[in-house]
């Protein structure tokens, strides 16, 4: 099968000061099949949001390629790019800051359709249809964002991402700002919509439980680099990169018997900012299994099993 999205050697560097560069995304390659959910996990500052934004061409890449359904996304401009936006949408973390507070819900949902000239004359009908689909009714059309709870507004955010019949959605931490009891409602909604409409998601989250629930495959990002990518079951059942292993060990399970008996698995240190990182593996300083070669040479991405790869010298 041809992938719906293919990212090849993508780089996004930001200049810092006179001669330094922050390597937010550093040589990332991955692909997503149509109808697949790829989870993207990592700690804050690892580049997961930047990767999502560069894929959508919301920010220019430094170098590399993004191919969406055969179209070279990064070379598009103006009208062509606007046309492609019909197919690629985004849901943000904080629904309150991603809605214009002075626009009614009806206006916010019709706006993308008006810009794209879709569903002309039937914008409101289409908006109500989508609201129903996300569990709300047409009575909310004349209300303003502040009148809603976070969970309700995030549902509307999802409805907005669907107004243009898009098939690819980047969901950037879409449930992180929600309360636990609301999180599960919204996650179920994401899953139902994906199955019904055969949507493709890049689902970004720092929460491993959330990612395991929603994803078919999972990519782990560390300081702008892909550390490991594998089908969900393999990544959680047989993690091969020491960073993935540390990340999984640090997860606290809602089970006191298990939690109180397990030894402390905390790894040292914290993720640092990838400004002019030294050569070698980005995880070198914190890695419990580091070797001499890791300090001097970048580990290559090696295949470990079917669709399972890790960037680690232990497996090279």
């Amino acid at each position: 099968m041809t992938p719906l999205l293919e990212v090849r050697n993508l780089h996004k560097y930001y200049p810092v000061g006179r001669n330094s560069r922050l390597k937010a995304v550093d040589d990332v390659s991955l692909s997503i099949q149509p109808g697949e959910v790829l989870g993207l996990v990592g700690e804050s500052g690892c580049g997961k949001t930047t990767l999502g934004r560069v894929i959508l061409s919301l920010q220019p890449a430094t170098s590399g390629e993004v191919v969406f359904d055969g179209i070279d996304v990064l070379s598009l401009q103006g009208k062509d790019l606007r046309r492609l936006r019909r197919r690629m949408q985004i849901v943000f973390q904080d629904p309150y800051s991603s809605f214009n507070p002075r626009m009614t819900i009806g206006a916010a949902l019709s706006f993308p359709m008006k810009v794209q000239g879709m569903h002309r004359g039937n914008e409101e009908e289409r908006a109500v249809e989508l609201l129903n689909r996300v569990g709300l009714d047409g009575s909310v059309l004349n209300r303003y964002p502040h009148e809603f709870s976070g969970g309700q507004l995030q549902r509307i955010g999802i409805a907005r991402a669907l107004t243009l019949d898009s098939d690819f959605i980047v969901a950037d931490e879409p449930v992180s700002a929600l309360d636990v009891s609301i999180q599960s409602q919204v996650l179920n909604l994401f899953k139902d919509l994906q199955e019904e409409l055969n949507l493709t998601y890049l689902f970004i989250s720092h929460d491993l439980g959330v990612v395991e629930f929603i994803s078919d495959r999972v990519a782990v990002l560390y300081m702008g680099r892909l550390a490991e990518i594998a089908p969900t079951e393999d990544l959680f059942g047989d993690p091969r990169h020491p960073y993935t292993q540390s990340l999984l060990a640090a997860v606290l399970h809602p089970d006191p018997t298990l939690e109180k008996s397990k030894p402390s698995m905390a790894i040292e240190g914290e993720i640092s900012t990838p400004i002019d990182p030294p050569p070698g593996c980005r995880f070198y300083g914190r890695c419990p299994k580091r070797m001499d070669i890791c300090r001097v040479q970048d580990p290559p991405m090696v295949s470990i099993g079917p669709r399972h790869s890790a960037a680690c010298w232990l497996h090279a």
Partner: protein, 339 residues
């Protein structure tokens, strides 16, 4: 079976809260953020308060420290027994003497709790200067010791840093150093690791646990995260709409919850390795505190609710094993063992 277990006079109780009510008087009406809360915490114990946003868990912590902004907030009734007196009645001067010396608090975001223009060592040392009257140089010396105790690498150098120069985890360690400087009897931690990454969260929780156990400091841990509760707490109070709806030891809470809210919350968590097709979810939204329903506040979302729940607010049921909950129709998980 409901019974009032006789409370032996227990000298190890550090804090006893009785019928605490903190209300906010706003233009939209009275918000009963904390509405009749009872709990106690012993030396060296870790008590968790869990709940979702708006449940009143943070206001409970602030009330204990007497830090609720007034107006619009006010402690309208109740007692906070701490160190042989009732803090609700304490004067501003008395509270200033207690805060930071006998009772301290750390918050979710250390960057907004630290003064951005003062060096870390100076800020941690302030506790020693204020409460113990130490000189600047002696206070700084003790501050460095505290930074070392919280496992901050090269504490001498770090004491000269400004908050922005520290990572999130290091800042929270500095907050812990400051809070524990005078060896308080009680530490209140309000979502202390929510802003941190999982690997750093694990480090900071481990540190708090070790220090509190070593010094026998009582820890009141306010969190929304059931994983943190399971890892850290001895006992847990679950809050919903300003009330403690369930209160028990951590093992009973997870294995045999009695309140449908607790049970629903636990079921709705995505768990690693569970491989679920769908998550069980609690329907509906948390209530607005200005428009609380008559009867049980959870009734509109409760799968077990009956007419009585919508009319009469449930009283506290206490089982002999210390398990307490507010529900007319509790789950039969924790039946009183037949005598």
């Amino acid at each position: 079976m409901t019974e009032r277990a006789p409370k032996p006079c227990d000298s190890s109780v550090v804090l006893r809260v009785r019928d605490l009510r903190t209300h906010f008087f706003t233009n939209e009406g009275v918000v009963k953020a904390v509405d009749g809360v009872d709990f106690e915490i012993r030396r060296g114990e870790i008590l968790g308060i869990v709940g979702e946003s708006g449940s009143g868990k943070s206001v409970t912590g602030l009330s204990l420290m007497r830090l609720v902004a007034s107006p619009p907030g006010r402690i309208v009734s109740g007692q906070i027994e701490f160190g042989g007196r009732d803090l609700v009645e304490a004067s501003t001067t008395e509270m200033q003497d207690i805060r930071g010396r006998r009772m301290s608090m750390i918050f979710q975001d250390p960057l907004t709790s630290l003064n951005p223009v003062l060096r870390i060592g100076y800020q941690v040392g302030e506790v020693f200067r204020y409460h113990l009257g130490l000189s600047r140089s002696k206070a700084l010396h003790r501050a460095v010791d505290m930074l070392r105790a919280t496992e901050i690498p090269s504490p001498d150098r770090r004491a000269q840093s400004y908050p922005y120069e520290l990572s999130g985890g290091m800042r929270q360690r500095a907050m812990i150093a400051m809070a524990l400087a005078c060896e308080p009897e009680l530490l209140i931690a309000d979502e202390p690791t929510t802003a941190l990454d999982v690997t750093v969260q694990a480090q900071v929780l481990e540190l708090m646990k070790t220090i509190c156990r070593e010094r026998q400091t009582a820890l009141l841990l306010i969190t929304h995260d059931m994983g943190v509760v399971a890892h850290m707490c001895d006992r847990v109070a679950v809050m919903y709409a300003g009330k403690i709806v369930e209160y028990t030891d951590v093992h009973t809470l997870f294995a045999r919850p009695a309140h449908p809210y607790t049970a629903g919350l636990l079921r709705s968590l995505p768990r690693l390795g569970a491989k679920l097709r769908r998550l069980a979810s609690l329907e509906g939204q948390p209530p607005r505190l200005t428009r609380l329903p008559a009867g049980c506040a959870f009734a509109p979302r409760c799968p077990r609710a009956q007419d009585r729940c919508r009319e009469v607010a449930p009283d506290l049921t206490r089982l002999g094993n210390g398990h307490q909950f507010r529900c007319h129709f509790p789950l039969e998980n924790d039946k009183e063992p037949q005598a």
